[in-house]
């Protein structure tokens, strides 16, 4: 066959293509092209921005730069709250897989060998294998931490002794189960804080660091057990002033100090949920805004494997600001030490509170409340166990600002002032005070079996004569008495944030969270409103010695003492220190007594210390003024006593005022002068010390 033949064959069409078919094909192609063209046009020009954004989203990531929380310092710039490194020991469960598997198989074998009829629960065995393996590692870890094989110095021995019953010597089985359920790809925490915050203040910081150092230097580097470090809040003085300082807890609430656009893109980009810390109590809560600073962030492009590639933009974090408190660490420590020394019959410290103020400025030098808690133990994680433990002891309550108590005989100052201001009695009037006073058919007794005889204002305050007060109270009447108490602001909520000082960004209403607001200054209306019937003369007598319905807080009584010391009616307390503060006391008026009357009150309080109910707490060579009180209250349906002391120092030209309260129990002997007095004395002594130190410097 020639090549021509071939050509011929090919050139002959098998069938002619008719024009309409051609047109159809062309049309189809045209439609197709138009479709593709429109599609491309839509995608490339109209949708382009969205698609670019979407692509960016998939290839971008946000990295958080958490801020450092600000410090809290006392008036002398001693650090009360700071941040420290926390070291934790973690186990990489993936790395332990082989070991766990071997253990598991051994357990299954042992179980099968038993030939019991009970069906083997493999899940439980698996968990048991995990626990066994981790416990084995923990044993090694503790072997290193304890330095079991080495001679130890006494301080080291102390550390080991304190750690002997640490709960972290064994794996927390429930935590492990939860970990396996929720976050098994992460490392499991075996020891959450190698410096063991519960040991703070029991052993030196350096000794506490020894566990960390021993682990780092002696535990084999390669292996499934690693050490990790991060920063957490630290309270160097432990439980000191915990109610004022507060603690921090985890939050997943995004801090609200970003521009809204960023927040939206954060939500889109961030894989991990935000976790940060937020103040939960005390100043950490009320001044969270100041302390927390603001977070920074970085926007990165990432590779398909998720690694960071290129930094697109960043926003630096801003460190939180420092807050300076008016507290004086030494006085605070002295107050807490003295309070802790007051024990019940079982040897536990009694619930109590103590406050010391600067008379002129109202700055709080010490404010203590027992029982308390150790915020260091809450810093890494608020455990339900510890939370409940505090709850059970009543440690959450700040008794100095939230505890409502009958002020007892300290209230006799009000009765005396009311008597003199109403003109019913003068400073040198003498009343005959027997062993009791009959009001209606009820006998109101003196606390001294034979009475006190001839009593004037001064003597009354020194010896705390009840009958004098019953009589003056009845003379003045309940309305004037209540009016006088209100004039001194015993029912006014204290510690309100001063908007002029703290600036607008602080939204919290009070300087310390939720101070008491339901103080009671009783009168006829009040008694009716609580459904207790009509006011009687007996109620007046009771009120005149600070018992009955009346309720106020230790802080109020400290402010009252400061006001008396200044010869005014109100003292506005504050927890913040300002060296340039111009004393200002809201709604304060002159006390409204003439010089002799005021002198009588002050002299009476001095005599209370020198020869009266508080004579056991004299400080040789130093004169100060006080008024004790012992009021009855009902605990578990039985009578118990509240011990009070309020006062100021020095007697001439007063600088500080104080109030102490101790909640007696049913079976304790709790008396104002004897029980509460030493705490007041300790605070005054410490104040004197620091004053002397300052003048030396």
């Amino acid at each position: 066959m020639s090549s021509d033949d071939t050509l011929e064959k090919i050139s002959v069409p098998s069938a002619p293509i008719t024009p309409w078919r051609m047109y159809l094909i062309f049309t189809l192609f045209a439609v197709g092209f138009i479709y593709i063209f429109c599609g491309l046009f839509y995608r490339q020009l109209i949708q382009s921005q969205d698609l670019i954004d979407q692509a960016n989203l998939q290839s971008e990531t946000i990295v958080w730069r958490p801020p450092t929380r600000g410090k809290i310092v006392d008036r002398n710039n001693v650090t009360l709250v700071e941040n420290r490194v926390r070291w934790s020991v973690k186990a990489n469960l993936l790395g332990l897989e082989g070991e766990i598997d071997r253990e598991y198989r051994a357990l299954v074998k042992a179980e099968k060998a038993k030939e019991s009829t009970i069906k083997i629960n493999y899940e439980i065995l698996h968990q048991e294998a995990r626990v066994n393996v981790l416990n084995r590692w923990l044993k090694k870890i503790w072997f290193v931490i304890d330095a079991s094989n080495q001679k130890k110095s006494p301080s080291e021995k102390k550390r080991v002794k304190f750690l002997a019953d640490s709960p972290e010597r064994q794996v927390n089985v429930t935590a492990l189960a939860k970990h396996m359920r929720d976050s098994r790809i992460f490392k499991f925490t075996l020891i959450s804080d190698l410096t063991f915050p519960e040991l703070r203040n029991q052993i030196s910081d350096e000794e506490a660091d020894r566990s960390v150092a021993r682990f780092i230097e002696q535990f084999p580097v390669d292996g499934p057990i690693t050490i990790e470090s991060d920063m957490i809040r630290s309270y160097p003085y432990g439980s000191m002033a915990c109610h004022t300082l507060g603690y921090v807890k985890d939050t997943n609430q995004l801090p609200n100090d970003f521009d809204p656009n960023f927040e939206i893109s954060f939500k889109k980009l961030s894989k991990s949920k935000y976790t940060g810390k937020i103040g939960a109590e005390g100043l950490e809560q009320t001044h969270d805004y100041t302390l927390k600073g603001s977070s920074g962030w970085e926007r990165w492009t990432k590779t398909s494997a998720g690694y960071k590639r290129e930094l697109l933009e960043s926003y630096p974090q801003r460190e939180g600001s420092q807050v300076r408190l008016s507290l004086d660490v030494n006085i605070q420590l002295a107050a807490e030490k003295a309070l802790t020394a007051i024990k019940d019959n079982a040897g536990n410290p009694l619930p109590s509170a103590a406050v010391m103020l600067d008379v002129n400025t109202g700055e709080i030098l010490a404010i203590a409340s027992l029982p308390n808690y150790n915020p260091n133990r809450l810093a890494s994680k608020v455990t339900i166990k510890y939370f409940d433990e505090i709850q059970e002891q009543g440690g959450w309550m700040n008794r100095a600002t939230q505890g409502l108590y009958a002020p007892g005989s300290t209230y006799k100052l009000i009765t005396a002032i009311a008597g003199m201001r109403s003109g019913k009695i003068d400073y040198d009037d003498i009343l005959d005070c027997g062993r009791s006073l009959w009001i209606g058919n009820h006998e109101f007794v003196e606390h001294e079996p034979y009475g006190f005889g001839q009593v004037d204002v001064e003597k009354m305050l020194a010896i705390s004569c009840n009958v004098w007060n019953y009589r003056v109270g009845l003379m003045v009447g309940p309305d004037l008495l209540a009016q006088e108490a209100r004039r001194f602001g015993l029912d006014k909520t204290l510690l309100k944030t001063n908007p002029n000082i703290m600036g607008a960004e602080n939204t919290s209403q009070y300087e310390i969270p939720s101070p008491a607001r339901k103080m009671v200054i009783p009168d006829a209306n009040f008694k009716r409103s609580v459904g207790q019937g009509n006011w009687t003369s007996g109620d007046t007598a009771n009120t005149s010695i600070g018992q009955g319905f009346i309720l106020t807080t230790p802080l109020h009584m400290a402010c009252f003492a400061a006001s008396v010391a200044r010869g005014e009616t109100r003292t506005t307390p504050t927890i913040f220190h300002d060296p340039l503060r111009i004393p200002y006391h809201e709604d304060s008026r002159p006390i409204g007594l003439n010089r002799n009357q005021l002198n009588a009150i002050r002299e009476g309080m001095v005599r209370c210390v020198t020869e009266g109910t508080a004579r056991s707490i004299q400080i040789p060579g130093f004169q100060f003024a006080a008024k004790t009180g012992t009021s009855e209250y009902f605990k578990n349906g039985q009578k118990a006593h509240l011990a009070w002391i309020i006062g100021y120092a020095p007697a001439k030209n007063p600088k500080v005022a104080f109030a102490v309260l101790v909640e007696g129990q049913n079976d304790t002997n709790t008396w104002g002068g004897v029980t509460a007095g030493p705490v007041g004395q300790a605070m005054v002594k410490e104040w004197l010390n620091s004053k002397n130190k300052q003048s030396e410097e």
Partner: protein
């Protein structure tokens, strides 16, 4: 199918079997193999090092008398100064012993010092180590710190019969705690070797530096051992912070680079501080068959 192809197939199967045996084999087998091959090579290392010493000897021998006289004169001066120092040290040691007796606290970290020559250095991005000419027979035990005068060089990582391996401060397997000078609160920081880049100087990393740490101005920031960990005596120099302290990108503390105290790749001689009693570290490193944990409790 010819013999060659059959052999190829068999060899792959044999390889698979061997890998299986190796993986499932006990750690004793692994250790034995490693130890055998290490000891096999040890004599060569020794010979080379001794050869180096010999060369040095002949080099010294060729010096002129004048040179030697000058050198011995210098040495005599140094000797006199050192003798004085030894006297004062003796007093201090006595005082120390007396105080310890008073406090009823015997030191737990009495060290036996073994001086050793460096045979060879070995470094990559992932490890920096030296091999020294003293081993098990000289009493060296794993985990012992290695120093040069008052500077930390590293730590013994493995001991053979006559030679030992030392992980340098810059090796990622090295870690210890330290204080930074100028930190009055003496808060511990974490020092660990850093995976280095080839062709660039080796460094270690200092992490967990508190944010409020203020370095002293006008002088290098020295990093000193804490003595808390029970391995290194306190106050030895680990090195100096290089290039300033910066905020960590991931954590809320500061970090810095550490320049080791001595040019670790030039060092010729080191001292190994062998603790009198085995440390916990050593016991944990020891093969479990030899020492049981309980024995030390």
């Amino acid at each position: 199918m010819n013999n060659h192809q059959k052999g190829a197939k068999a060899s792959y199967i044999a390889l698979a079997v061997f890998i299986l045996i190796w993986i499932s084999g006990t750690s004793a087998l692994h250790r034995f193999t490693k130890e055998t091959f290490a000891e096999f090579q040890a004599p060569a290392l020794q010979i080379v090092s001794k050869g180096g010493d010999l060369a040095r000897y002949w080099e010294l021998k060729s010096r002129s008398n004048e040179e030697l006289i000058a050198a011995s004169r210098d040495l005599a001066r140094i000797n006199a100064a050192l003798e004085l120092r030894i006297h004062s040290m003796d007093d201090i040691r006595r005082e120390n012993t007396r105080l310890r007796e008073n406090a009823r606290y015997t030191a737990n970290s009495e060290f036996l010092t073994v001086v050793a020559r460096v045979i060879s250095r070995d470094s990559s991005s992932w490890w920096q180590k030296i091999i020294i000419r003293k081993g098990r027979t000289d009493g060296i035990r794993p985990g012992s710190p290695v120093v040069f005068s008052n500077r930390v060089i590293g730590r013994v990582s493995a001991v053979h019969l006559n030679i030992s391996e030392v992980d340098l401060v810059t090796s990622p397997t090295f870690r210890c705690t330290a204080f930074l000078i100028g930190d009055e609160k003496r808060r511990i920081v974490y020092v660990r070797g850093d995976a280095a880049n080839s062709l660039s100087p080796n460094k270690a990393k200092v992490t967990a530096i508190p944010i409020d740490y203020n370095p002293p101005t006008g002088q290098p920031i020295k990093v000193l051992t804490t003595g808390l960990g029970g391995v290194f005596p306190s106050g030895l120099i680990l090195g100096e912070v290089d290039g300033g302290i910066r905020m960590s990108t991931d954590d809320n503390y500061k970090v810095a680079d550490l320049n080791p105290a001595k040019d670790l790749n030039m060092i010729e001689e080191v001292s190994v501080l062998v603790p009198q009693y085995p440390t916990a570290h050593e016991i944990l490193l020891a093969p479990s068959e030899k020492i049981k944990l309980e024995e030390f409790k």
